[in-house]
């Protein structure tokens, strides 16, 4: 991998995370604070479209970004394996901390709400067990449930990214090295095939 390709890979990974968050944020069921329910079939279709797009973003920009990064970066001086690994770790760490810090201000209100849940659990349980009724804190519309769950997951993601996402980086480095070696093997096989053909023709 070249230096530029490593930086491109990092940029693509961060943009992949951003794409998933943007798609979740854009889902109409999520941002509309309404009580009445929309039609079921269009909602399922819409949810499927958003899920497919998010899965595509994860696959192309996080999981399988080597070919895309090569195309963007172009040719260049290939670094030694040790330098490659070190640069990939450093750039990914810096990039993911940036992403985490950018998510933090929006996640703080959710983080503040989390301790409040512990004070509401007892009255809620009392309502369910003794009064046999659904407590007010659980009487939410589907969009409010979606927004709350999304906010909670985003807060966890922000904390994990600020922590440096060590496991994700380790996986990404390992995966990148494996992908790179696979691509090199494919190229070597193709070159060997072409050379053999040339030799036969001559």
């Amino acid at each position: 991998m070249t230096r530029v390709q490593i930086l491109t890979k990092t940029t693509l990974t961060i943009l992949g995370i951003y794409a998933v968050l943007t798609l979740c944020n854009s889902y109409p069921g999520g941002f509309m604070y309404r009580r009445e329910r929309p039609a079921i079939v269009p909602e399922i279709l819409s949810l499927s479209a958003f899920t497919v797009l998010a899965a595509l973003a994860v696959y192309l920009m996080i999981f399988n970004n080597t070919k895309f990064s090569k195309r963007i970066a172009g040719p260049g001086e290939i670094l030694r394996p040790g330098t490659q690994r070190a640069l990939l770790v450093k750039s990914l760490r810096v990039g993911l901390v940036v992403a985490g810090l950018m998510l933090l201000p929006r996640s703080i209100p959710t983080m503040v709400k989390i301790p409040k849940i512990f004070f509401l659990i007892r009255p809620a349980l009392n309502d369910i067990i003794v009064c046999k009724s659904v407590p007010d804190i659980l009487r939410l519309s589907h969009s409010e449930w979606f927004t709350n769950i999304y906010g909670f997951l985003r807060a966890i993601l922000a904390l994990y990214l600020i922590y440096g996402a060590p496991r994700f980086i380790r996986w990404q480095v390992k995966h990148s090295v494996r992908q790179e070696s696979n691509i090199e093997k494919t190229i070597a096989t193709k070159c060997a095939g072409t050379n053999a053909e040339r030799a036969e023709n001559e």
Binding site: L23, S26, F50, I72, V94
Partner: protein, 189 residues
């Protein structure tokens, strides 16, 4: 193509992908709104906006991704630019810069939220329009709640700490990053 061109190309492609993501999300949102909330967004309006977003998407992809090399050359200038020296200890500097940028973003968010609340409070007229109270549910009757003030204080503290360079945070991250770099590659295991 020197390093500056390469970096400019990456940044331009990144910007292109960033806007492409937003536009794709907007297209799907417009279609979903038209299908799910009939009457809220008429189908022709949805189609019009879908066409507009699709055109913008095509333009963004063409300019920022397909023609990124030419654009990078135009922005950076001649090819004879000197190579920027590769800093040996760029990691602490990068983390410090990030901290300052994030701190500014945090402070900007606090400022925006405080201003927004103050403006809403100033504009709040309980008996002016029927149903007005429903629009400003969060602010009707209670101007400030403890939770909101707590959020602002936490954000303000974090923002000031980050703007100051977050020395402990930077040191801890540099240490952890270097430790991770020194770890043996798992592929060899």
């Amino acid at each position: 193509m020197n390093k500056m061109h390469a970096l400019a190309k990456i940044m331009l492609s990144g910007i292109g992908i960033f806007f492409a993501i937003r536009l794709i999300a907007s297209i799907v949102t417009a279609i979903s709104l038209a299908l799910m909330w009939r009457g809220e967004l008429p189908i022709f309006t949805a189609l019009f906006w879908t066409a507009v977003f699709a055109l913008c998407l095509a333009a963004v992809c063409y300019i920022f991704i397909y023609k990124s090399e030419q654009l990078a050359k135009r922005i950076v200038g001649t090819d004879e630019l000197g190579e920027p020296d590769s800093p040996v200890k760029w990691l602490p500097v990068a983390f410090r810069l990030i901290s300052i940028a994030a701190g500014l973003y945090c402070l900007h968010t606090v400022l925006w939220q405080v201003t927004n609340t103050l403006i809403r409070y100033a504009m709040y007229k309980p008996r002016s329009v029927p149903g007005y109270k429903t629009i400003y549910t969060g602010y009707a009757g209670r101007f400030l709640n403890v939770e909101e003030v707590l959020v602002w204080l936490i954000m303000l503290t974090i923002g000031i700490y980050l703007v100051c360079g977050a020395p402990h945070f930077v040191r801890w991250h540099v240490k952890k990053t270097l430790e991770q770099c020194k770890q043996p590659p798992e592929m060899n295991k």
